[in-house]
Symmetry: C2
Subunit: 256 residues, 2 copies
């Protein structure tokens, strides 16, 4: 009886594994142009506001890092450094910082080039009023060891090189720190399709792909999550994303 039960369990387990492997092998990795078009359709056709999707994206990043770096005891490090860039990837980072703070982490934000738009000013204000510190200068490689992880919200899928002077310090930090770097959607500075460029490059510990992975994620073997559970099925079908199914109420899935 017990053996029969264990056998049944094994069959179920194999089926689940097969299903997941199928899902991963058929899942679409978007080109840069597709990623840009998916974004445009979400805003222009599906009428999402940037506020809405940034909130959901940043929240799913918070869930992914909280799963990857769970706080299990009072001794666990809670300090995290969030790097916010000048675009929507930076906005995702600001939202991430706020939700991390609500989940008992202690995020600090480095936001070297502030964008003077209402959405971004408001995201900063929300963080400030939750007593999240904004750093005046970029931490050096050595002092970055105090953080449990560094979240990279510097550049997203519309980045084109070269890296501007204002971001050189923080790129240097993320390329050389010994602290785990967790990249939001795209490791900053990577080619969206081909992965790490020649020379110094971020070697991410973790990547959180939003909506669907981009081609560069094929060159990444670390902890890979998918977040952004807001893609309408019609859009997913149009781009043949073949996304894995999010279980229950989960806002992110670990792919790898």
């Amino acid at each position: 009886m017990l053996i029969k039960y264990l056998n049944t369990l094994n069959v179920i387990k194999t089926q689940i594994l097969r299903q997941n492997i199928h899902k991963l092998s058929t899942m679409k990795f978007l080109t840069q142009e597709e990623a840009i078009n998916v974004d445009l359709e979400l805003f222009n056709e599906y009428k999402f506001s940037v506020d809405q999707l940034m909130e959901l994206a940043g929240l799913s990043c918070a869930h992914a890092v909280a799963k990857e770096f769970p706080i299990k005891s009072d001794e666990d490090k809670r300090e995290a450094l969030i790097i916010a860039g000048p675009g929507n990837n930076g906005g995702d980072g600001l939202v991430l910082a706020r939700h991390l703070s609500l989940m008992n982490f202690k995020p600090s934000v480095y936001y070297p080039k502030r964008v003077d738009k209402p959405l971004f000013n408001n995201l900063v204000k929300q963080c400030e009023l939750m007593d999240i510190p904004f750093l005046d200068s970029c931490p050096d490689v050595e002092s970055s060891s105090k953080y449990r992880f560094i979240a990279d919200g510097l550049f997203g899928f519309s980045f084109k090189p070269p890296v501007r002077d204002a971001f050189k310090d923080v790129m240097n930090l993320m390329c050389h720190t010994k602290t785990h770097v967790c990249c939001i959607d795209i490791p900053s500075g990577w080619d969206v399709e081909k992965g790490a460029r020649e020379g110094d490059a971020i070697k991410p510990y973790m990547l959180i792909s939003l909506t669907a992975p981009k081609l560069c994620a094929k060159h990444f073997n670390g902890a890979h999550y998918l977040g952004g559970r807001f893609v309408p099925p019609r859009l997913s079908q149009k781009y043949q994303m073949d996304l894995p199914e999010y279980p229950g109420t989960e806002l992110c899935i670990k792919l790898n």
Copy 2:
């Protein structure tokens, strides 16, 4: 050894129970004026946009109902009726419908009095493009039995009687249906502080309090959830909300 282990487990369990009872007994129930002021502060001082908070509120409602009515097998009913009123409570309902649809429920929306504002038009468009049906007329009590639950997003904490003609059918449905009614923040038509009014009143199966429970929730003994994990600690302290701690990455807590 095993007995020692079990004893330790029991001690931990008792401590957790005590802590929760403490939390529930000290938790603040907001007056109508406090609820209005908390909302105003979130928008005016903390600079949240309505889009942001409505998205988080609706999402936490989706998590709460998905926990209370889990889909465990293909036989489980997935149809749900979402009632959307003309205010922000209705907006929460439209967001709820969209997230339920992404979590494999089959929501239909009844939205008797549409609001011609960009935010609401966009929320409707998002639902329509996810093939969520909008009903032309209010289902009668008998036909409402096909739904697993009815989500009440008709009126929120700023409602003042009398109920307008356009909403009489749907109030009648929610007062007399045999299907479980799940109320968003306030059971529609209830006095925000005193609970059910005289005459016909909704008898909710489930209540999802957002940010903090309002005084009327003291008159409710059913499945009570708290959602809206976005309250900044300073605001919570100012109103002495003494909210229970959300575990892990949870977006809602079952209080009762």
